[in-house]
Symmetry: C2
Subunit: 389 residues, 2 copies
């Protein structure tokens, strides 16, 4: 079952295993005494003691010498996971903006850099901006590229295992871009490129409205509809990275859905196409009949695709996210009503609360997961940035 069961385990490996369990315990509940760790891991106090000291020696943990202590008895040393031992990047390369987040190993965000980009920017220009944003983010936190342990970049459109954008993307000329190769020149750490919807789903489970669920359908609703799927607590990419692309099926009217908003009669000439949807939502909120009809038709079409996903996966939660989630007050109830009509078992339908940063936040989380995977797979030697492959 576990990979440990397939291969024999000797004493050093046992020690490593127990060290890892202490690391986990340290990360879950910060500053802990040896006794607390002993209780949480089930290991004996002396065992925890030597392991904790080993972790301090290796640089994985720091000691808080006893100071003011409210409890009775001799004050205990407290051990703390050294979250600052490494940092990870999460970057969202969108059509209009690039957003980079830098966080420590506990996921605390220490630097945020945002930069607008022209929607029609060619790859070379967009990559240059990406480099600027990443440089500013890393340097702004006083870090060097070698301090970065993992990078995840979110892009629009399905992505294959090598990080190449396939099938479709609204970014001009983007299919020829190899982001891993581009960033790999300056960063030796693992670099992952992933679809924005999938990452937003991850964020929603990490810090959003779906943190209690293991089976999640995330809808990225905007001028383009997308979906991210979390099944049994794990983000699913599909065999070729194209999971969730239900919008490609014409019988499911996802492509048309936003058009109902854009083509709504009554939108003033002065409103740009990009802002038409927001105008329609506002008008609907104020009671405009045409706008309400457009929103109604939008939700009806959106629900068909959502129902296809829900019927396929039977999730616990459907999260309504993306740009349109600001108008969730208008969408959520009719969406629930339509899903009730179309689905067998009705899932929870919730509106995203993370806003525009959710994609970058999900990228950050995937970077953290990448670090964790390597840590718990390869074992903890010394806290230095892992190398690709």
């Amino acid at each position: 079952m576990t990979e440990l069961a397939t291969t024999g385990t000797d004493l050093p490996r046992l020690r490593e295993l127990n060290s890892l369990s202490i690391v986990r315990a340290l990360r879950d509940h910060p500053p802990s005494t040896v006794t607390e760790l002993s209780q949480r891991t089930g290991l004996s106090r002396p065992a925890v003691d030597v392991i904790a000291q080993g972790l301090v020696n290796d640089g994985w943990a720091t000691v808080l010498e006893p100071g003011a202590n409210s409890a009775v008895g001799r004050p205990a040393r407290r051990y703390q996971f050294r979250a600052g031992a490494g940092h990870v990047l999460g970057v969202d390369v969108g059509v209009h903006k690039i957003l980079a987040l830098l966080a420590d190993l506990d996921g605390n965000i220490v630097q945020t850099v945002r930069q607008t980009v022209a929607a029609e920017a060619e790859p070379a220009e967009r990559l240059a901006e990406l480099d600027n944003v990443i440089n500013a983010c890393v340097a702004g936190a006083g870090k060097a590229p070698s301090d970065i342990w993992a990078i995840t970049v979110a892009v629009t459109g399905a992505v294959d295992a090598q990080g190449r954008t396939i099938f479709f993307t609204p970014l001009p000329g983007w299919k020829s871009v190899n982001l891993v190769a581009h960033l790999g020149v300056r960063f030796g750490c693992p670099i992952v490129v992933e679809n924005d919807c999938k990452l937003a789903a991850l964020a929603e489970r990490w810090k959003g409205v779906a943190s209690d669920a293991d089976d999640i359908v995330y809808l990225l609703a905007g001028m383009r509809n997308g979906a991210g799927l979390i099944i049994d607590g794990v983000l699913r990419r599909g065999f070729g990275g194209a999971a969730g692309e239900i919008g490609a099926l014409k019988h499911v009217r996802w492509l048309n859905a936003p058009a109902h908003l854009q083509n709504c009669p009554g939108v003033p000439e002065t409103v740009s196409p990009d802002d038409a949807a927001a105008w329609v939502f506002n008008a609907a909120r104020e009671g405009d009949r045409a706008a309400r009809g457009a929103v109604h038709r939008y939700v009806k079409d959106l629900a068909v695709g959502a129902a296809a996903l829900v019927l396929t996966l039977d999730p616990q939660v459907v999260v309504f996210g993306g740009g349109f989630s600001r108008s969730a007050d208008l969408v959520l109830d009719p969406l629930r009503h339509e899903l009730q009509r179309l689905c067998l078992r009705m899932p929870d339908v919730r509106a995203s609360t993370l806003g525009a940063d959710s994609v970058a936040l999900g990228a950050l989380k995937l970077s953290l997961n990448e670090v964790d995977d390597r840590l718990f797979r390869a074992g903890l030697s010394a806290p230095v940035a892992p190398r690709r492959q």
Copy 2:
């Protein structure tokens, strides 16, 4: 990551872990020498020796004393997993038949009992037949109920976590049946009730055409269409057990698809509705224009639902199974053609080869998985039937 990393591991647990790894190694490649096991597990030869002898003592393994030996050197004792230490049942409760398979812990089928049932049989009658079949199967192999370590029963229609049939089933009155409670009177082992499509998918990955794939969409094609999903090598039930029920969405024309066959013009009056599809497939094979048209329309509608599943999950393989898989020669190529048109990334499309037993076979596999899960989770004490909960 692994559950072992969360909780501390002490010496006895280490021994148990290594014992389990030996059990796995034994099961993967039968009769093995200590040296072979040592190489496969990475453990030292003496360690493997004491563990193997311990397994023999506990009843998990048997020794084959050295006999004729072609290799040079002193002939080695060979250890063998005692597959006969326990047995599991896989039962398919269909509309027209009940089929029970009994297998040892290696999955070798030792008893098969099949019994036809009237389609309109009431629950009481069907349950009585089920009891008869199971009794005959267990007794026929010379076993007692206490020798059975796990039972899985396949039924048509979605099933919740408690094994209750929900939403829909063609079995009359079946929604009121609690199979776990019914069988629990005579069997103390774990009893699982699962949807037939899902189990057939499992069988196809175990012994069928999809044994190389981890991401599989299985289509159970017959007078009713169903689907079973395997994602990352694990059968997915969905949060409420209703995963794969894409047929409920009207925009996806799964409900109508078989009707094209049943309502095909030219079917003789003498052919019963149940056999109409087979007649149409045969006629199409012989060049009948109306029949070919009906098959064409059938495939077109089938493909829409399949495409919804494929676009959602992006599987490696789509398996065309169920009763109509006998006519795969007529369906496979047009199905591929339609999917190519509708999908982004084209999966492998393969026809099932397991035939009518695939559902019971999948039930057997789920029973084996259940036993394995308990074994590798709870550890190996003595080889006796596990208790429910």
